[in-house]
């Protein structure tokens, strides 16, 4: 990989991690799953990375958080495109070739089919 690509990787990593990471993310996710969402959410409003439950009204700060997250994700994607170049999924043809390659490397597991 060219030097500029390597350094670019570092650049995007720096920006990406800086913008998306949350020091409390893991614990918060667990809390959100295990407890009543609304009372505990507000203290983490700018520091969590969770989706909005359907019960939250539009004027909630959770919605503004969501907008902030979308903005950050958009920024990150823009930066990643700027540095890596336009990122993409495999095309259907490329994907089919990849899966075909995996099929050739595979053996069928007899009796494991769930969808008969």
């Amino acid at each position: 990989m060219k030097l500029n690509s390597i350094t670019s990787t570092v650049a995007i990593a720096a920006i990406y991690i800086a913008t998306l990471s949350s020091s409390n993310g893991t614990n918060l996710d667990l809390q959100l799953l295990e407890q009543d969402i609304t009372p505990i959410y507000e203290q983490y409003i700018h520091n969590a990375n969770v989706s909005i439950p359907a019960v939250i009204p539009n004027n909630s700060s959770m919605v503004s958080y969501d907008k902030q997250l979308i903005k950050k994700n958009a920024l990150i994607e823009d930066i990643s495109n700027e540095i890596f170049g336009e990122m993409r999924y495999l095309t259907p043809e490329e994907n089919e070739k990849k899966i075909d390659m995996y099929r050739k490397m595979s053996t069928v597991v007899e009796g494991a089919s769930f969808f008969d």
Partner: protein, 193 residues
């Protein structure tokens, strides 16, 4: 290594969030780093003491169900994608396969440039002929994998350096958390009303 160290410090100091205005600061730091022409080591010089996020393991079985419902099993090297804390405290481990690039018939350059969302390339001599495919994870018992490592039936091939770890996080984030298409986002908003 001064500039690299400064860069790492910069990234660390940026947790957990960074104001948008600091984007330019980040770029400036990278440009300084670029001028030094240093080699970036994406892999740790040895392996980390404990099984950790991003570790590369020797071959394990992977399973995928094809469109006709058949279950296909194949062996491949594996990358651990759970956090190190998760590995320590939870029962199950998620591995994604690491395949040889030499068998890839198309888009090798795109893979090597890390331009494909679902694939990751680590530009290190140990792994330069391989790519990681996030799209085909498999779940194992942590206990099983650790026991197999202890018995020597599975080897830990490599651990990520700090920079390699950042690369993994960025690739996972892009793969799983990139912005949705506007239509889906609008539909989600409607569900709030």
């Amino acid at each position: 290594m001064i500039m690299l160290k400064e860069l790492i410090n910069f990234v660390d100091a940026s947790f957990p969030s960074i104001p948008y205005g600091e984007k330019e600061e980040a770029k400036r730091a990278i440009k300084q780093f670029e001028k030094t022409g240093e080699t970036v080591n994406y892999l740790y010089r040895d392996i980390l003491p404990e099984l950790s996020q991003g570790d590369i393991l020797s071959e394990v079985p992977f399973l995928f169900y094809d469109s006709d419902g058949t279950a296909n099993r194949l062996k491949a090297k594996a990358m651990v994608i759970n956090t190190s804390c998760h590995i320590e405290n939870k029962s199950f481990l998620t591995l994604v396969p690491v395949f040889s690039l030499t068998q890839m018939e198309t888009c090798v350059d795109a893979v090597k440039s890390n331009k494909i969302y679902e694939l990751m390339y680590i530009p290190d001599i140990k792994l330069r002929e391989y790519y990681i495919d996030f799209s085909m994870p498999v779940t194992y018992s942590v206990k099983l994998i650790k026991e197999q490592i202890d018995k020597g039936r599975i080897q830990r091939i490599a651990s990520l350096s700090q920079i390699g770890y950042y690369l993994l996080l960025i690739k996972l984030n892009i793969y799983l958390m990139r912005r949705e298409d506007p239509d889906t986002m609008e539909q989600r908003k409607e569900a709030l009303c």
